[in-house]
Amino acid sequence: MTFNSLQFLVFFMVVTLWFFRLKNQKGRIWLLLIASCYFYMSFIPEYILILGGTIIVDYIAGFLIERNEGKKRMFWLVISLVANIGALAVFKYYNFFIHNIERSFSLFHLTISIPFLKMALPIGLSFHTFQAMSYTIEVYRRKQAAEKNFVVYALYVMFYPQLVAGPIERPQNVLPQLKEFRPYNWDNVKEGLARMLWGFFKKVVIADRLAMVVDRTFAHTSETSSIALFTGAVFYSFQIYCDFSGYSDIAIGAAKVMNIRLMENFNQPYLSKSIREFWSRWHISLSSWFRDYLYIPLGGNRNGTLRHKINILIVFLLSGLWHGANGTFVIWGLLHGLFVLLLTMNYEKTKEKIGSFLSAILIVFNFVLVTFLWIFFRSENLNAAWRYIKAILSFRGGSNYLGFSSRNEFIFSILVIGIMMFREKLLPGHVVRSNARFYFYTIMMVVICYYFGVFAENQFIYFQF
């Protein structure tokens, strides 16, 4: 079930009310686990077996890592990593690699036939495997005690608000919260619901509206004018931001209602002045995961300049690959890595020297750069991405039809993007202290989402990862 569906709204109401009906933490954990199983199985029921399998392997591995020393300790960590990465490799990358092997053979006029895997990608696979691996790695590093209670550990992996699209959590943050009984807190409920409403607004009013333009321009590249194509690309930047951050808002808000605090995943990324800063503000849970579990173990910036640069490229290559089994994601990741290396500037140390005008220029430049890189992310293949970029840079004429039937909708789209950026810049928190303001805010957001929302049960973009 997607967050912007009636099923989720009813499900959330039932689970949350029942959660607060229970007066002991054991009951609450069982309720959340069963609810999370139902949530996951509403996509493809059989795939719970895959998720369950990796949970069992990691739970046992956690125990055995903690009990052992030396090589045996490493052995069980490797087992856990192989199980999780193996699941990713099989379900997500197998067909991609087979396709590339066949293409490589065809270059030498040889044919090879390897069967493809005819299974849909288990939803949220990339997210829950990474979250599970963070657990076993932290146990190995002795920064986290192995969780004895299987139900608690299973819930750590399967907690429904963040199960299918993050934030990718750390055990030190979530496990203690799952075990602690916290009584009903009206302030948390208000903040959580306010956050969820904001997420719905970004998804149904902004993201799904902009999707009409994006789908149109990416499907009709050859006949669309450069300005319209650029508009489509810009709209995609905001579509993916509102879609993904909207999902994160709903996830964080839903958890907050139940007194569970999840990590923040976005911090106004389009106000970044560099690609490096962008990655400290975009999908923070993923970038910090790669930093802590890949970049730093590879040596980070401690082994010389050349090694530092190689490490950065490896991280961004794998980050691109994490997003999908397609050359477009690999190139997208590599280009981000390249621009991080080429355009590195440390703004924390020099920000006093940068005036607001230069800051604005840098923000716009960085946004345009990121927008062009998103074209690879959105395109079906590298040829399509390259055609799209070439068409923009050719400054040609053509159809200016964006997929909107009326200019009003275009103006409205710009307006809501502006409202969203303004509000997130000036009012980063979602605390609504007064009850009257909270009720007013709720009614206003429900009315706005209903009347201006585009309801097509569009899946969240990051669900496909």
């Binding site: 039932v14 029921p45 909708e409």
Partner: protein, 353 residues
């Protein structure tokens, strides 16, 4: 105390809602029980299915007006003893013997629950398989769907967990039928929830205000309906987007066409084998295909012109392309009686051959 009662009530209410919405039989049971004349009844799709789905009844040009009558043919004894069987749907379900020339008998078989029928092989039996374009790929590219076309003693179509419930569909299941079983993870649960929570007459003003806002502010329709670029027609959304098997514009692979042709040939061989003299295929184009042809994926020509196809064709597409005026209803997925008359005349030409 009151808070606890409300809390428990909503928990129970939510669970019942989720359960009943997973069961298409239960949804249909409630549908049948509701008195549509009352405030809690289901609002009906009047004046055009798309107009009603999008609540655009206030836009006069989309509302179905009076339509022409079909030409009536005189009944005549025909030495050829022609019996026409039409496997059809809502496009052809009110056709009868009087529309056709020179028939001894006419049988309409609803693809969604018609039959069984028995073939009298003493007649010259002609079969026409009529299907709308938006369903053609879904049916003919899917071997499981072929069951719909087989079995001369056709089974009554039953609603199972896989079938979607569209608000407004009229079902034939009586109140006494068993409302179990249900599919716990029914993918169409949201349609069931939409029906159970929102499709009441007293909620109509809510939908109508949104429809007014979208139409006048954004020139857009709500829900599953799209307004054509020239703003003269309503299209069913799935037929007018860039993706999906029902779309007039989504890409089609040669492999898919080949699969469709193979399945059609299997159907052809089956019905020729049980006694039909001729088997025809007629694909009714989506409104978007004819009225907004730019970017059309050519599904119908690709199927009809395939050299491997054994069925003969009642070529509605070519005729409609030349004569587009007034053949479709503006606010409905269906054709007007003018369009239907063209179709009937095409069939009569075939019968005369």
């Amino acid at each position: 105390m009151l808070k606890k009662i409300f809390r428990d009530f909503f928990i129970l209410f939510g669970l019942i809602l989720l359960y009943t919405s997973t069961s298409p039989r239960t949804v249909i049971f409630f549908k049948v029980c509701r008195d549509n004349a009352k405030w809690w009844g289901e609002f009906q799709l009047t004046n055009g299915d798309l107009v009603s789905l999008a609540h655009l009844n206030f836009v006069k040009k989309f509302v179905n007006g009076p339509d022409n009558q079909l030409n009536s043919k005189s009944a005549a004894i025909n030495p050829k003893k022609l019996a026409l069987y039409l496997f059809g749907d809502s496009y052809t379900w009110n056709l009868n013997n009087s529309a056709f020339e020179g028939l001894s008998t006419f049988h309409f078989v609803d693809r969604y629950g018609g039959g069984p029928f028995h073939l009298d092989t003493s007649f010259n039996n002609i079969l026409i398989i009529e299907i709308t374009e938006r369903n053609a790929r879904e049916y003919f590219d899917n071997e499981k769907m072929l069951d719909d076309f087989f079995d001369s003693g056709r089974k009554q179509k039953t609603i199972n967990g896989e079938n979607p419930i569209a608000p407004g569909q009229i079902a034939n299941i009586s109140k006494s039928q068993n409302i179990f079983p249900f599919s716990f993870f029914n993918k169409h649960i949201n349609k069931g929830l939409e029906f159970n929570i929102f499709t009441y007459n007293f909620m109509l003003p809510l939908f109508q205000t949104k429809a007014v806002l979208n139409y006048y502010l954004f020139a857009r329709a709500s829900g599953d309906v799209i307004i054509s670029k020239d703003r003269d027609f309503l299209f069913y959304k799935e037929t007018a987007v860039n993706e999906g098997q029902r779309s007039s514009y989504s890409g089609i692979s040669a492999k898919e066409i080949s699969n469709v042709i193979n399945n059609l040939n299997v159907i052809y061989e089956h019905y020729k084998g049980i006694g039909f003299k001729k088997v025809y295929l007629s694909i009714i184009p989506n409104t978007a295909t004819i009225m907004q042809p730019e970017g059309y994926n050519n599904l119908i020509p690709l199927i009809q012109n395939d050299k491997h196809l054994k069925m003969e064709i009642v070529d509605v597409y070519s005729v409609f392309k030349k004569c587009t005026e007034g053949i479709y209803l503006r606010g409905d997925t269906h054709w007007s009686n003018k369009g239907k008359q063209i179709y009937v005349d095409l069939i009569n030409n075939k019968l005369a051959q």
